[in-house]
């Protein structure tokens, strides 16, 4: 039996964090849940996750991007998924489908809230399969 994969998740909405955690645990992941950008940064100091999922807007409007950047800097091989409601709320679109946007958005996948868990798991499995 293989070791449980470790997921680092960060979302300042406690309910969403809790729900995500339960779903991921149900899927067999080992979950480290953080409520803020600062907390996630601290975790990154001590653990190396297999994959990370960050909410975009937390302490700052771009917390998710910052966390993503820091994760990639320390662990270039760890895939990062950003989840955000920003597109629904503002119409601003981010995507990482082109090489150009990948240069400045250090995330592998950006998903819109409300996330569908099947879609999230599909993306996670795809990214984890790459490794």
């Amino acid at each position: 039996m293989s070791e449980k994969k470790k997921v680092l998740i960060a979302d300042d909405d406690f309910d969403i964090l809790e729900q995500l955690k339960m779903q991921l645990q149900a899927e067999g992941f080992d979950v480290v849940a953080c409520e803020s950008q600062a907390e996630a940064e601290n975790q990154l100091e001590t653990i190396k996750p297999d994959i990370a999922i960050f909410d975009l807007m937390m302490d700052d409007l771009d917390s998710g991007f910052v966390l993503s950047y820091k994760t990639k800097k320390k662990y270039p091989d760890v895939p990062v998924i950003i989840i955000t409601a920003v597109t629904n709320e503002t119409g601003l679109k981010f995507d990482v489908s082109t090489e150009e946007s990948k240069n400045w958005l250090k995330a592998d996948v950006i998903l819109n809230k409300d996330i569908r868990f099947e879609q999230l798991f599909k993306e996670m499995n795809r990214l984890l399969g790459d490794n």
């Binding site: 300042d12 406690f14 309910d15 969403i16 809790e18 339960m22 779903q23 645990q25 409520e35 409300d114």
Partner: protein, 382 residues
């Protein structure tokens, strides 16, 4: 200097020149307006030219001759009304009869000027029309601003109502999918969270009702001499249940009685909100001090807690609608984000003020200052 566009529509060139000369030099200063108002004068020699210019240029003021080749002054007035142009018209005529004045005013002219007129008469009429125009536009702008604020409030509100529904819905789905297995106790924490979110929503709806009542003025304010001390005692008694659960002591420092002019239920709302906040954001076994004071001019309601306190940044956002200071410590505390904005609104109804001093992890003190007397007439109009 702000320039208004004036169109002089008259078939006599001498008349147009005269108006040009007077209005070029004229500028008015109105109270409430920081800048002066000057005029840029355009001319039209007949009815058709007038209409062309009215269509092309954003004319603010129209000096309109009653008798002109082409369209008559009255026809132009009717056309302006039909087109719903935002232009203030002063009718000029040599035939200053009551009939003409009445029909012109009926058709939307603001004022009347009889030929021949002196420069001073022209200035007076134009000043009056300008004052009216500025006041009207200001009123319109305020109404528009109010509409925008209302819209913003509603969109934030709908978001605040949607969020708990979405949270509870997702929790239920997790349970339905047995995400944590078959044992019900595995779901205790999400059941608790769901209940907290539901209660929060109920609180929001109640606060919203308070707020609507205050804002709409639907509920008649009953302003009378009222003793604040029993209101505070009553509020403390109600809140004691909540305080006892967490070992918090509430103390009242107040004179025997303390009267001011006010509305019983508004003052209840203020005290209930302040005291319940002082309990909610307190630490276990903390203290709440409620102090009521009075001098010749005002009453001070002071509520101090020994709670979690706030950073200066958090304090600066505190009295806005739907602001809830979000951190680890406040997560499980119920709140609609409307309580303090309600307190502030009520204080404003009394021409009073609200302030806060706070230190992170030490506690917060809220002050509400209310003048002793209220101008009853003014308040009834609101």
């Amino acid at each position: 200097m702000q320039f208004l566009k004036v169109l002089v529509a008259d078939d006599e060139p001498g008349m147009r020149r005269g108006v040009q000369k007077v209005l070029k030099k004229a500028h008015f200063k109105f109270e409430k307006l920081e800048h002066e108002i000057g005029f840029k004068v355009l001319e039209a020699a007949d009815g058709q030219q007038s209409i062309d210019l009215l269509q092309k240029e954003a004319i603010d003021l129209l000096l309109l001759d009653y008798k002109m080749p082409g369209y008559s002054g009255l026809e132009i007035l009717e056309w302006i009304k039909k087109e719903q142009l935002d232009v203030t018209t002063i009718m000029i005529t040599a035939y200053a009869s009551l009939d003409v004045a009445v029909s012109a005013t009926k058709n939307g002219a603001f004022d009347f000027l009889a030929k021949p007129f002196t420069p001073e008469e022209l200035r007076t009429v134009v000043e009056k029309a300008t004052r009216n125009l500025i006041a009207q536009r200001e009123a319109k702008r305020l109404a528009e601003e109010k509409r925008k604020i209302r819209f913003q409030f509603l969109s934030v509100l709908s978001h605040e109502l949607k969020a708990p529904i979405a949270a509870v819905e997702s929790y239920l789905r997790l349970m339905k999918g047995r995400a944590a297995g078959e044992e019900l106790k595995n779901y205790d924490h999400i059941i608790d969270r769901s209940l907290i979110r539901m209660e929060g929503m109920r609180k929001l709806i109640f606060d919203l009702l308070d707020l609507t009542r205050i804002e709409s003025g639907e509920k008649k304010r009953e302003l009378r001499k009222i003793d604040l001390v029993p209101i505070a005692r009553n509020s403390i008694e109600t809140m004691n249940v909540l305080a006892n659960e967490r070992g918090i002591q509430i103390h009242l420092n107040a004179p025997e009685s303390l009267t001011l002019t006010g509305d019983q239920s508004e003052l209840e709302i203020v005290l209930n909100n302040l005291i319940s906040n002082a309990i909610k954001y307190n630490k276990e076994n903390g203290r709440v001090e409620v102090t009521l004071k009075k001098d010749d001019q005002q009453v001070t309601i002071q509520v101090t807690d020994t709670g979690i306190g706030m950073t200066p940044e958090e304090q600066s956002r505190l009295f806005q609608e739907f602001v809830r200071i979000k951190n680890e410590e406040t997560r499980n505390i119920l709140g609609s984000g409307l309580g303090l904005s309600i307190v502030k609104k009520i204080a404003q109804l009394y021409n009073g003020t609200v302030s806060v001093e706070s230190e992170k992890n030490v506690g917060s003190t809220f002050h509400v200052y209310l003048p002793l007397e209220q101008k009853t007439n003014e308040n009834e109009q609101n």
